[in-house]
């Protein structure tokens, strides 16, 4: 079976995969930072008591979570130019990933904030802290700790989702696999190499998660009702 499998061609294409790997990493990184910004804004809107800000945030989050990322990507890629907004492919890709992942991050951040007990809020209130002081000094530092593992989980999802950008011809990892597959008619070689690269990224992020948990473990925090 393996006699037809050409390791040589893989080696030949390695520089292309290297470039793809680098592209996937930075596309994901920029998208994730954007997603964090989107998520924080959405979460802040969602936590308000007034409907005026809460309703749009809720509708946005539902709309994103209810529709396929591919549809969102196509909407931006084919739809925006029709509205007169012409952006490079990679910008459209980053936009789609950030807007999509932001909705999920908003819910993760919200869950983290809501997991902090009412008593912590009251302790801050009773000592005369303002809303902003309470958030900054009491709630967010605690919420951040419980949020790190699901945040990294979402980062892993985002890296894998970035494969869809190959469909709008952004030169990233999956695109590198596609090129090898179509240039040399070697889909097995192309996509196994692509998959291996994603695995490397996965272990990188997993290591980061482990590192953060180790770091948090150094600073004890007993939760209390």
């Amino acid at each position: 079976m393996l006699e037809n499998f050409s390791f040589r061609t893989i080696v030949e294409y390695l520089p292309l995969f290297g470039q793809g790997l680098v592209a996937t990493v930075w596309l994901s990184l920029v998208s994730f930072v954007g997603a964090l910004a989107v998520g924080i804004v959405l979460c802040a809107m969602n936590l308000q008591r007034g409907r005026l800000l809460q309703a749009p945030a809720k509708i946005y989050i539902d709309a994103i979570r209810a529709t396929p990322l591919l549809v969102q990507l196509y909407f931006l890629y084919f739809g925006l130019p029709r509205l007169g907004i012409i952006l490079p492919e990679f910008v459209v890709g980053i936009l789609a990933l950030a807007l999509n992942s932001g909705a999920y991050l908003a819910e993760i951040i919200r869950a983290g904030i809501l997991s902090i007990s009412r008593g912590q809020v009251e302790a801050g209130v009773a000592s005369g802290m303002t809303y902003v002081q309470r958030m900054r000094l009491v709630i967010l530092p605690q919420a951040f700790r419980v949020t790190i593992p699901p945040l990294l989980g979402q980062a892993i999802v985002l890296v894998k989702d970035s494969a869809l950008l190959s469909l709008i011809s952004v030169a990233e990892l999956t695109r590198a696999g596609q090129l090898l597959a179509s240039d040399r008619f070697m889909p097995a070689e192309g996509f196994i190499t692509t998959a291996a690269c994603y695995l490397v990224l996965y272990y990188g992020l997993k290591g980061l998660a482990g590192l953060s948990e180790w770091w948090l473990g150094l600073r004890p925090m007993g939760s209390r009702a």
């Binding site: 002081q133 600073r219 007993g222």
Partner: protein, 242 residues
């Protein structure tokens, strides 16, 4: 210092505070007791606006609570509140718990706040626990840190909401000792508690509540030796039986 005039409060259809009229003088220590659900915690939570009242006047330190013209954030800096569940900040050390509000709310310089914080922790008997996190402390130690945290703001009033109810029996007295010391320094205090020894020792007045109303109010001697109402007699017979 604290004055309730005809205060009422409802939780939905539930009438939790019924026409409360009560006045606490500066340096006075008032113990509030009564059966579970009688509204005693709600009563003191209204004083710093953790709960809102719906009717009547509540004046604290010459400011009307709930009045839009009153800066509640500012008023709260004058009122220490000790919770049943301590509510220490778990991500901060004992010393940081004490210095957090003084440095950020009172804008006390850090060095000064830390010096005061160390003195306060030493005063509540925790001189060796400055750098301990709450999870590393016993319940009694945590509650003493919580009291030091309130004292760090140099409040005019201290409110205690069942401060020893969540503690193991052997830790109750270490917390009560600290509270007695605070009372003897002349702090104005309202304490929701069933610790009758504490009431006898430092309270000028005991207020007995039942079903949202103040049923009886008097000196500890009067209240414990000659309760005037059937309800207070029934209550005392239950808590003093053992």
């Amino acid at each position: 210092m604290i004055e309730f005039r005809g205060v009422n409060k409802w939780f939905g259809p539930l009438h939790v505070l019924k026409d409360i009229t009560l006045s606490v003088e500066p340096r006075e220590v008032v113990v509030v007791c009564g059966p579970s659900g009688s509204g005693k915690s709600t009563l003191i939570r209204c004083i710093n606006g953790l709960e809102a009242t719906q009717d009547g006047d509540l004046v604290v330190d010459d400011k009307r609570v709930g009045d839009p013209a009153t800066n509640m954030t500012l008023l709260r800096t004058e009122i220490g509140f000790v919770f049943q569940q301590f509510n220490l900040y778990p991500h901060k050390t004992a010393l940081e718990n004490v210095t957090l509000a003084p440095t950020h709310v009172r804008k006390t310089p850090r060095a000064e706040a830390e010096k005061a914080g160390r003195e306060l922790l030493a005063k509540v008997g925790l001189a060796d626990k400055f750098n301990a996190y709450p999870s590393e402390l016993s319940g009694g130690q945590q509650q003493r840190v919580a009291i030091a945290r309130c004292l760090g703001m140099r409040p005019k009033i201290m409110l205690f909401d069942e401060p020893t109810s969540a503690l193991d029996p052997e830790m109750i007295s270490e917390v009560l000792d600290v509270m007695i010391a605070v009372a003897e320094e002349g702090m104005t205090m309202m304490v929701v508690t069933h610790e009758m020894g504490f009431a006898r020792r430092v309270a000028q007045r005991v207020v007995f509540m039942d079903q949202g109303a103040i049923v009886e109010s008097g000196t500890p001697e009067e209240f414990f030796s000659a309760p005037r109402t059937d309800r207070s007699r029934a209550f005392l017979s239950k808590i003093l039986r053992h």
